[in-house]
């Protein structure tokens, strides 16, 4: 009767030690970064109006359930077509922009990643007077 119990204890002990070692080795938590990069970059000051807006996130996205909004300095929404995935990159949303006047613009992004999590954020860029 003792043998199975002893074997189970051995297995448990091995598991605990191995698990403890690996968990300690996992190191500190890293902060998450939903928005990886964008074009135009956050807070960029541009000499000319960009032709398109690209937002790269850290996870593959569901493009049909993700949205990009652009607002001018007065907070007015600028009409944009639905965003699409960049070719060969499931983490990057692209949308063509209409001609933009100089001024400050705010981008609002709301995305759904393939693991169904939804995140949102905003950043701004400025187009300089020529």
């Amino acid at each position: 009767m003792n043998r199975p119990t002893g074997r189970a204890a051995a297995v448990a002990m091995r598991g605990l030690l191995l698990g403890g070692g690996l968990l300690l080795a996992a190191g500190p938590a890293l902060a998450h970064a939903h928005l990886h990069s964008s074009q135009p970059a956050a807070d960029a000051v541009l000499a000319a109006a960009p032709a398109e807006l690209q937002v790269a996130l850290t996870e593959p996205l569901e493009p049909r359930f993700s949205a990009l909004e652009l607002r001018d300095a007065a907070g007015q929404a600028i009409a944009l077509p639905p965003p699409r995935l960049a070719e060969g990159d499931t983490k990057r949303l692209v949308v063509s922009l209409p001609p933009l006047q100089p001024g400050r613009y705010t981008v609002l992004w709301r995305v759904t990643s393939v693991d169904t999590h939804r995140t949102e954020g905003r950043f701004a860029f400025t187009i300089r007077q020529p």
Binding site: M1, P4, T5, A8, A9, A10, A12, M13, R14, G15, L17, L18, G19, G20, G21, L22, L23, L24, A25, A26, G27, P28, A29, L30, A31, H32, A33, A41, A42, D43, A44, V45, L46, A47, E59, P60, E62, R64, F65, T112, S113, V114, D115, T116, H117, R118
Partner: protein
């Protein structure tokens, strides 16, 4: 959102029903009799209904539909146009096929049911993280859990219905199968914890981590019951048949709780991606030192423990190994006071303007000015945010992070001046630049090359890009737009109070980490330092939550 709250119970119900169905079909194929048709059909109906409910709730979540009618209209779009929708459709089809084949082609039915468990993994955290190893581990975990936990109720039913010899045979066969599944579950759970928990702060300080711990505790209780069945009740059959069946039922109950936590766990972001709230009033100084000896211990443990383990000696040997590892890396074991935000970092980029904004704010109240006095205990950026929050509760989060970033930079600079090194890896604060060849850019956009930041005198150093902190300087590749950036970098160099900064330089590596600082150093020494940091990268660039 009420609808959002329903997503977790719907997922748990869906998981429980599909696991029960798969477990029952595997039990039939690998162990004994087919559970009743009513049980199989019941599991299938619940799984299909729960799958449909999930689609409806996801439609509300994805599209923001404001009523059941609008949600119903959006269901086809979600079912066909999202990865989770497609996965749920495939899973439902596989479960239907498996149930139809049950009792006729039992092995094929079991395989289809197991395959159905894998379909939703295409929309899992592991799939989103695009980590192939993690995805394989998760797949094995789900399969092993389905076979073990899903087989418990059929086992309970079989032990009650079969004669003694058959019952004993079934118990021994299921026990062997379950033992193999437990090994797979433990190994794959461990891998997931290592990759997704975000270390101890994530494990103790996030919902995901606490759920993982809760699930591990329940699994230990399950193992206890399984051992009780095998070691105590099984040898005493038939006298203990009733007790054994009660114990298996209790095991199934615990298994249902494990599945509930698993469904919840799959619905929350991994600890790695969350902001941890540290629950303890103290922390061990510098978790980083644990990593190398931790891995060494883990690697050593495998061959060591495969041999004859000496239980009492092993914990002792572990402590000795850890102590030796710590000593080898020259680190002391210090417990220091901690705050709930100890392991948090600013959600906003670390910039010279944030540091300067923080400096201005830190002078606005006596409570904040008191934070300028260095504390004996080491503090993190997150600790400084907590102290700033207590000192100035009226400020908003962004302002308090500005203060924390200023204090952190100043504290690092003071440590550099007194001890000759920054106490922790310091990212170079970002700033706006004008480059001769690239026009307007930012320091962070120059990653990948070694940068030499300088004030005043800027010698040419091969292999580096020169960045002058003096706007308009003609002798550098890039220059700062804002003259105030000089003061932010002076703080980081421990020279915040110095009136004359001409001759200050700082080196930044390709990942954006500050790697050295000096004052009026000879160009050949600078070149040597630049070469050295190019050859010894510090690690990936700092991320923000």
């Amino acid at each position: 959102m009420v609808w959002d709250l329903l997503l977790v119970p719907a997922r748990v119900l869906h998981l429980g029903a599909s696991v029960s169905l798969a477990g029952a079909l595997v039990f039939h194929a690998a162990v004994a009799t087919l559970p009743s048709r009513r049980w199989l059909n019941g599991c299938l109906l619940v799984a299909l209904a729960a799958g449909l409910l999930r689609l409806l709730l996801l439609a509300v979540a994805f599209t923001g539909a404001d009523g059941p009618g609008a949600a119903l209209v959006a269901v086809p779009d979600v079912a066909l146009g999202s990865r989770i929708g497609q996965a749920l459709l495939v899973q439902s089809a596989l479960l239907l096929g498996a149930t139809a084949l049950a009792g006729w082609l039992s092995i094929l039915a079991a395989l289809l049911a197991l395959l159905a468990q894998l379909a939703p993994l295409l929309a899992s955290h592991a799939a989103a993280m695009q980590d192939g190893v993690l995805l394989v581990a998760l797949a094995l975990h789900v399969l092993a859990g389905s076979i073990w936990l899903g087989g418990l109720l059929p086992l309970w039913q079989a032990v009650g219905a079969l004669d003694l010899a058959q019952a004993r045979y079934v118990l021994l066969r299921f026990s062997s199968l379950a033992l193999a599944m437990v090994v797979v579950l433990a190994a794959t759970a461990l891998l997931q914890a290592v990759v997704m928990s975000g270390g101890l702060p994530g494990l103790l300080g996030t919902t995901h981590g606490l759920l993982m711990l809760g699930k591990a505790m329940l699994m230990l209780a399950l193992l206890g019951l399984a051992a009780l069945n095998r070691v105590v009740f099984l040898p005493r059959l038939p006298a203990h048949r009733t007790a054994l069946r009660r114990s298996i039922l209790a095991e199934a109950g615990l298994g249902a709780l494990v599945l509930a936590l698993a469904g919840w766990l799959a619905s929350v972001p991994p600890g790695l991606h969350e902001v941890p709230v540290w629950p303890l009033p103290w922390r061990l100084l510098g978790w980083g030192w644990v990593a190398p000896p931790g891995w060494a211990l883990a690697l050593l443990a495998v061959p060591l423990l495969a041999a004859r383990p000496r239980y009492l000696a092993l914990p002792l040997a572990t402590c000795v190994l850890l102590a030796l590892g710590g000593a080898a890396w020259g680190v002391r074991l210090d417990w220091v006071p901690a705050t709930p935000t100890s392991f948090q970092t600013s959600p906003q980029p670390f910039t010279t303007t944030a540091i300067l904004r923080g400096e201005a704010l830190a002078k606005t109240s006596p409570g904040l000015r008191a934070l300028l006095h260095p504390t004996p205990a080491p503090t993190t950026e997150g600790d400084l945010f907590w102290h700033a929050s207590l000192a100035a509760p009226a400020l908003d989060d962004a302002q308090r992070w500005d203060i924390a970033q200023f204090l952190y930079a100043r504290q690092a600079g003071l440590a550099l001046r007194e001890e000759g090194a920054w106490p922790a890896p310091m990212p170079a604060p970002d700033l706006a630049l004008v480059c001769h060849h690239g026009g307007d850019t930012r320091l962070s956009a120059l990653r990948g090359q070694v940068l030499r930041l300088a004030i005043g005198f800027a010698p040419t150093v091969p292999g580096t890009l020169s960045v002058s902190l003096d706007p308009g300087s003609p002798n550098a590749d890039c220059t700062a737009r804002d003259p105030a950036a000089r003061h932010a970098y002076a703080l980081l160099a421990g020279l915040g109070a110095e009136p004359r900064l001409d001759g200050l330089w700082l080196l930044v590596d390709g990942q954006g980490w500050l790697r050295g600082s000096g004052f009026r150093t000879m160009p050949d020494i600078l070149e040597e330092a630049a070469l050295a940091i190019g050859a010894t990268p510090l690690g990936p660039a700092r991320a923000h939550h």
